[in-house]
Point group: C2
Chain length 242, copies 2
DNA sequence: CGCACTATTGATGTATTTCAAGCCAAGTGG
DNA sequence: CCACTTGGCTTGAAATACATCAATAGTGCG
């Protein structure tokens, strides 16, 4: 059940910076729990203060904010190896919520030990900062998408970006990405209505750049897809994992 | 000309965590230059690697990204005390650009000393991470705005947010905020066209929630403004400054 | 079976963009 | 001094992208 960092299969993937045994031992010392949550569980609540810092070990999640009348914006999707909950660790409360998109496993890193990290484990502290920075760069790109891309470009940019991230993580099986998003999630991530998302998806499918059925995404021509989206950023590798 | 950290007036403001003399000395040791740039200068260039880490000492700036056909999205506005350039310090290159909106002064913090910060000055490293997190939370909110607020709400949210930030910084003079944004900047920050921004501004002015003329913004009813925008976040204080 | 959730499609309404023109103030070169 | 440009702001009209309303259909589930 419990996954020890020393025996962690995720951190062995080539995307990640490989740590020494000693470093891994430090991380293991920090890690306080290995959580398994089922699909749909909200594990960080807006405006509340209970949440810890987590590394997503398996599954997908997303961060979101919403307006008081219910309009919802997904800020970014969280994939294995990503750190989540840094803001609440620093400010004591979270301005966003986070929800498991599939069943997930989370490595819990208690925030009460967070402050001392900077004195005792500077390497790790650096990695936390690095991951926080990368997370911001993802949100930057999503803001560009929401603000300045048209509906078709938005969808293309989202798919291109997820596909590239999944590829770096070795998550593609014969080019197929198991993508647990409903059209409502896609709409909420892109700032579109559900109906318009559906119609734009239909038009895009006709262009034959990708196939998407039953949660299986295959991008057949990543180059054209990226061109359509004007999306040219690659995922950063190697990167740290905690 | 050169502003020594020990004699820095900015850090004395009540918004900021007051540091001990010793801590300030450490910051001063890190600081390598005090730059003065004129309005319009781009001091961080997308995809390039020359930029350092900076604290904005005086003036306004903004971060932006753009698509290859010229569509531009302003990611956030940078006010005195804000840290900028963290991404380039971590990744070696920047995915965004940064431009001075007014004449500005920047405290330059060379990134070659950045890594060692974590070993030698853990307090400072913590503050850097803190400021990085806050920066992300600002972008989060801007993404919510771009994705899910209508035009009038967008403008109201932007003005409410800037006004609140300025207030915490003590930048208001008799309730007047000297705001160096053109309508094009507002449009680019909100994901609107210039024309629609202008027309929406006209409609909003008719509602008498604020006045804006010649770069002087006065929010007459911040409560109503925030309600219209559904913007309820306060700026975080006290906060660190480097 | 009924219920909830997801995808789909057509019709209609509206928000926003684009195009086009004009205005004003400030700067610049003759 | 003027003629001329430039940047920012403003306005109207037309085009379009996107949202909303409404209805249907398939799927899994208690």
């Amino acid at each position: 059940m419990y996954v020890r960092c020393a025996a962690c299969p995720l951190r062995l993937k080539p995307v990640f910076v490989q740590k020494t045994e000693q470093e891994v031992a430090l991380i293991e010392e920090w890690k306080s729990d290995h959580l398994r949550l089922s699909e749909g569980t909200e594990f960080i609540h807006p405006d509340q203060s209970r949440s810890e810092l987590y590394t997503l070990f398996a599954g997908w999640a997303y961060r979101y904010k919403e307006l008081s009348d219910g309009r919802r914006q997904i800020l970014n999707f969280v994939l294995p190896g990503d750190l989540i909950g840094l803001q609440s660790s620093m400010f004591g409360k979270s301005f966003y919520g986070a929800v498991a998109l599939t069943d997930v496993e989370l490595c819990q890193l208690p925030r009460r030990k967070f402050r001392r990290l900077f004195e005792r484990m500077p390497e790790l502290a650096y990695d936390v900062t690095w991951l926080g920075s990368r997370s911001e760069s993802v949100v930057d790109e999503n803001l560009l998408t929401a603000g300045r891309r048209g509906a078709a470009e938005k969808i293309a940019a989202l798919f291109a970006s997820l596909y590239k991230r999944a590829e770096t993580l070795g998550l593609l099986v014969d080019g197929v990405l198991e993508m647990p998003l409903t059209q409502q999630h896609i709409a909420d991530a892109l700032g579109l209505s559900l109906v318009h998302t559906n119609k734009t998806l239909a038009k895009l499918r006709a262009q034959n750049l990708f196939t998407l059925a039953e949660g299986q995404l295959v991008v057949k021509n990543l180059r054209s897809m990226s061109r359509l989206a004007q999306h040219f950023e690659e995922d950063i590798a190697p990167r740290p994992i905690i």
